[in-house]
């Protein structure tokens, strides 16, 4: 009888452990996935790519070739055309929401703006079968791209990490008469 009584706290402890386990597991950050979908109705072609962000984040620092090293890309001296990317990014980061660039031509409209902590780029091109391009890049990602880097470097690995933390995001859509391209990030490993 005494042994049975002694077993009760042990049983309770085990039960508590079992109840706590799923909470512990769900506390870990879920894997995030970068999805690319290309649909071409004129050729009945579909391309779907699903890439775990954790994989990109782990693999990138292992690539040391050309301008890419330790997850960072170095912009060659002659290629930056005298543009200080860090200064531009800092100016954008500290600026209030609003439209920064608007270009209106006969066949093309381009606008770059900051909306709710995102950089939003819109292109409307009536020449290319009414092609529209919408890109939304969270400021977190832009900040990660330039933070802690030299003036001629972009931290791609940090940007991917930030993209994973940014929540479900539709990054790019390109639409014309026959083609539709979507690039987005979410926590599902399928495109369903």
């Amino acid at each position: 009888m005494r042994k049975q009584i002694q077993a009760i706290p042990v049983f309770c402890l085990l039960a508590a452990g079992l109840v706590a386990m799923p909470h512990t597991a769900s506390a870990a950050p879920a894997d995030r996935y970068l999805h690319v979908r290309v649909e071409d109705t004129s050729k009945s072609e579909n391309v779907n790519v699903n890439l775990p962000l954790s994989m990109a984040e782990t693999v990138l620092p292992a690539v040391n070739k050309g301008p890419l090293h330790d997850g960072r890309v170095t912009i060659p001296a002659g290629k930056s055309n005298g543009i200080d990317i860090h200064a531009i990014m800092e100016a954008v980061r500290t600026a209030p929401d609003g439209e920064f660039v608007t270009v209106k031509e006969k066949d093309q409209d381009v606008s770059v703006s900051k909306v709710n902590g995102n950089i939003v780029v819109r292109v409307r091109d009536s020449k290319k079968s009414g092609q529209t391009v919408d890109a939304t890049i969270p400021m977190k990602v832009v900040n990660a791209l330039v933070s802690g880097t030299k003036s001629n470097e972009l931290d791609i690995a940090a940007a991917i990490r930030a993209m994973g933390d940014a929540g479900d995001t539709l990054i790019i859509t390109v639409q014309d008469a026959t083609q539709h391209v979507r690039v987005w990030v979410d926590s599902r490993n399928t495109q369903e």
Binding site: N46, N50, P52, T58, V59, A62, N189, T190
Partner: protein, 155 residues
């Protein structure tokens, strides 16, 4: 009689242990079914552990220049490929790439601890399933092939 039974037991144990070890890394499967009037069928299932060994063995007989070229191209990418495969191995099952167009369908999936490639086109249906660890070991073998080939020839 008892001695014969002991010898049989040891032999059987060795065979079982050997088979278990050989199959421990899973199996490579290549299945090709051609379309047409006289379709050919190829279905090969081999223990994955043999694949890197076969790659190492084959490298001794492949043209040296070709092996050195392959090795030189692969060597800088081996750490990256190994990291990617290791990371992939730890993920849940998923479709990595799916391409479909009229008459063609290509799918690359991660299933269990294997990479599975399915190609269904107008000429043939191809199914390849390879354990990730075997792919990693095989790439390492090919990357090391030039060095080991030189030492092998020297001996």
């Amino acid at each position: 009689m008892i001695l014969a039974a002991k010898v049989a037991l040891v032999c059987a144990g060795t065979v079982v242990a050997g088979t278990t070890m050989l199959c421990s890394e899973g199996f490579l499967r290549v299945k090709v079914t051609e379309r047409g009037a006289q379709p050919h069928h190829i279905d090969v299932i081999a223990p994955a552990m043999l694949v890197p060994i076969a790659a190492r063995f084959a490298s001794h007989f492949a043209p040296r220049q070709k092996m050195e070229e392959a090795s030189d191209k692969l060597q800088p990418w081996v750490p990256t490929i190994r990291t990617a495969l290791s990371e992939l191995n730890s993920l849940d099952d998923m479709t990595l790439v799916d391409v479909s167009e009229p008459g063609d369908h290509v799918r690359v999936e991660k299933l269990g601890s294997s990479i599975v490639v399915d190609v269904d086109d107008t000429d043939a249906v191809v199914h390849i399933s390879a354990p990730i660890r075997a792919i990693s070991s095989t790439i390492q073998q090919i990357a090391d092939a030039a060095d080991s080939d030189n030492s092998w020839r020297a001996n």
